[in-house]
């Protein structure tokens, strides 16, 4: 029995080794010149799976639409490969290393989909000359493209978003002077993403004269009762919900338990999707979040995706998710990537794009309202214009509210306090440059 067991195990090991060798040898050679490779860092597992799968699902669907409808971008088909990061920093680094050299000229752009992974990749990507796009998240001071040439926190960064929230609260309160003396709680997940906005909230509080209290939620944030009891004691006017995954849902329930009005809760855009509010059931009604894009299916491009990609069965997710908040965010990822690629084709010729070429394109993006209408994304996307100095693009936010069944936009596009934020961004970027010994580029 012992001997048979040993033999069996060694046979198994041998088979595994042979299999692996065979697989390694059987790897396909490099892609031909008519294909553009795009790496997809995604998390379909773990506590944040809803966001990861939704956003990248939308991204991949948009690329599928371009392939189906137009045959790719200017005839070059888009191909992609997924790599599961499970929101883990080291797996993110590993996925990056695995995928960065695929395709004829390597990966043109990387979307880490996590602030932590973005931080971990900044040095590497800058060395490898591959741009990191952290759309609506990531390292805020990378907005200053002179210090961070290869990092793009597009549309709006976290600090701008926080300041836009303040502007909205001021609007609702009847003016900026009415902010004085108000109490705002910054309920945030105790991870890099959550802590990113602490300094700017302090700055805003200083400027407008309101009080801000930072409460840290220990991840994964399943049970927040003690924090909410503290909130009850503090009795704030507003609570900012800066969580992720399951820690977004629990506040809604806790607020119901202590009777805190849901419409005085303002969530960040990573806490503002259907998957965050469904599990909270009735407690979620009235909850408001910010968003930097439109919601729902009522846009030509989304309808086209459903029509041309899902009907022939080539969709990435269950079709019910199309039009959800995370999904639309993913579609915007796709739109921006595609537009940058078109721009790169115009300048460098129609061929697979390298990281450096993509970096140039991302720095010179000008997606006008007319172009947005052409794509079929009017109302879904705000116009975007980047530059060497400004890697953000000057976006704006909207407020949406959950009515029990769906998200409804309840405000116009709200612009952030860009000057205040820009000053802080430049300060922080300059500090980073000093620490790292980087000479900021001179932008022309």
């Amino acid at each position: 029995m012992h001997r048979g067991k040993g033999v069996a195990i060694w046979c198994g090991m041998a088979m595994l080794t042979v299999l692996m060798a065979g697989v390694a040898l059987a790897q396909q050679p490099a892609d031909p010149n008519k294909e553009q490779f795009v790496p997809i860092l995604i998390y379909r597992t773990g506590p944040y799976a809803a966001g990861g799968s939704g956003i990248m699902g939308g991204f991949m669907d948009y690329m599928a639409l371009l392939n189906e409808r137009d045959g790719g971008i200017n005839g070059i088909k888009l191909v992609w490969e997924e790599c599961e990061t499970a929101y883990n920093n080291d797996r993110g680094v590993e996925c990056y290393e695995r995928l960065k050299a695929k395709g004829v000229k390597g990966a043109p752009v990387v979307n880490p989909l996590s602030t932590g992974i973005t931080y971990a990749l900044i040095d590497r990507a800058t060395n490898d000359k591959i741009p990191l796009v952290s759309l609506g998240y990531g390292r805020t001071d990378a907005t200053d493209g002179r210090v961070f040439p290869y990092v793009f926190p597009l549309i709006t960064n976290y600090w701008n978003q926080s300041s836009a929230k303040v502007r909205y609260i001021a609007q609702l309160s009847g003016g900026e002077d009415k902010l004085k003396g108000k109490k705002i709680v910054n309920l945030h997940l105790n991870v890099p993403y959550g802590k990113e906005t602490i300094p700017i909230w302090d700055k805003l509080a200083e400027k407008f004269g309101f009080e801000v209290k930072h409460l840290a939620v220990p991840p994964p944030g399943l049970d927040q009762k003690s924090l909410w009891l503290q909130i009850r004691e503090y009795n704030p006017d507003w609570v900012v919900n800066r969580n992720w995954g399951v820690s977004c849902t629990e506040p809604l329930r806790e607020a119901a338990r202590i009777g805190f009005p849901r419409d005085k809760m303002l969530g960040v855009w990573w806490c503002g999707s259907e998957e965050d509010v469904f599990p909270a059931g009735k407690s979620a009604k009235g909850y408001m979040t910010t968003n930097f894009h439109g919601v729902g299916r009522d846009f030509p491009v989304i309808e086209e995706i459903i029509d041309k990609v899902y009907t022939p069965g080539k969709g990435n997710l269950p079709v019910t998710r199309a039009g959800s908040v995370y999904y639309n965010r993913g579609v915007i990822h796709g739109i921006i990537t595609a537009e940058a690629m078109r721009l790169a084709h115009q300048k460098f010729g129609v061929a697979p794009i390298s990281g450096e070429q993509m970096q140039w394109a991302l720095e010179n993006l000008n997606i006008t309202p007319e172009r947005i209408k052409e794509i079929g994304a009017e109302g879904l996307m705000f116009p975007l214009k980047t530059s060497c100095k400004d890697h953000e693009g000057g976006g704006a936010v909207r407020i949406q509210q959950w009515d029990g069944e769906k998200w409804v936009s309840v405000s116009d596009w709200i612009k952030p306090y860009s000057d205040l934020v820009r000053a802080e961004v430049e300060k922080s970027a300059a500090q980073y440059a000093k620490e790292k010994g980087i000479t900021p580029r001179a932008c022309n």
Partner: protein, 299 residues
């Protein structure tokens, strides 16, 4: 110090603790009958809750789905007993513990592989709002949901205690947990007993999964509740059913009180490890918990 607020924190904490105790009950069941610490209990909570929710989403009638899930858990229990426990019968308990760690991972992968990784909303129809009568009387806010959960937990504890002490099978279970050899020699069928216990633990896991799931949505994070249940077990004793509840109450209350009143001195987030700190203190001075049997060998 505001007394009403303190009471709220205390009561809220205790009710939270009851929810932890529900999960801890599953551990106690298995430990009581086989001496194995089942690290996979959290995965069983996830597995049972996911199965139930997905069956419901396929528009199967509530009670039928419940019955189907129960059958699945029973089959799972028998499979675990046959494939994992029986081959490891004479091994030291630490090996069994490590095997249940492996089992935990396996079940997590299985549950999410078979069903999926998404969040599933789940409503039991119980309101998660403050209990009005209490609020009118005293101004203290206590959620109705928590009270119902406490009631369910209490019923379970009562039921299980009665089962263990008044029925024949319960006696057999206690005999097995005392001494495998002796129980065998008296004629108690070990394998059947273990299957029954694991199935019972599976049912408790299902109840816990339903309650936690209706609060948070059924998703991967449910399996992380194991980590909250461990200190409860250390405090209450590994083989005591009422101990699980008492341990839960203490852990829940102390972690909330610590978070609310101590966090201003040491920074937030101590909730995660405070129960473990408490557990460590107990481990050093009273390792068998408040109600457990005093058989722990000390160094």
């Amino acid at each position: 110090m505001n007394v009403a607020f303190f009471l709220e924190v205390l009561i809220g904490g205790m009710l939270s603790g009851v929810m932890y105790a529900l999960v801890a009950l599953g551990f106690v069941l298995i430990f009581k009958s086989s001496g194995v610490f089942n690290f996979a209990q959290g995965a069983m909570v996830l597995f049972s809750a996911l199965t139930f929710v997905r069956l419901l989403e396929m528009h199967i009638y509530f009670w039928l789905a419940l019955a189907l899930t129960l059958i699945v858990m029973i089959v799972l229990a028998m499979a675990i007993e046959r494939l994992v426990l029986r081959p490891l019968i004479n091994q030291p308990l630490i090996i069994l513990f490590m095997a249940t760690i492996g089992l935990n991972f396996f079940l997590e992968g299985l549950a999410q592989g078979v069903w999926d990784n998404q969040v599933h909303g789940f409503e039991l129809g119980i309101n998660d709002e403050p209990f009005e009568a209490l609020r009118q009387l005293t101004g203290i806010l206590v959620s109705t949901f928590d009270l119902v959960a406490a009631l369910i937990a209490g019923t379970l504890v009562l039921g299980l205690s009665l089962f263990f002490h008044k029925t024949r099978i319960g006696r057999a279970l206690r005999a097995v947990s005392d001494d495998h050899q002796a129980a065998l020699s008296v004629g108690i069928p070990l394998h059947h007993i273990w299957s029954i216990t694991w199935a019972a633990a599976g049912i408790v896991a299902l109840v816990a999964g339903m309650l936690w799931g209706s609060r948070l949505g059924v998703q991967f994070s449910l399996s992380l509740i194991t980590l909250k249940a461990l200190p409860v077990l250390i405090l209450g004793g590994f083989n005591s059913i009422p101990g699980a509840i008492v341990g839960g109450l203490i852990v829940g209350a102390s972690e909330k009180l610590a978070e609310v009143y101590l966090s201003r001195f040491v920074g937030g987030g101590i909730e995660n490890f405070f129960p473990y700190l408490l557990a460590m203190v107990f481990l050093i001075f009273r390792p068998y918990g408040l109600f457990g049997d005093e058989i722990i060998e000390r160094v």
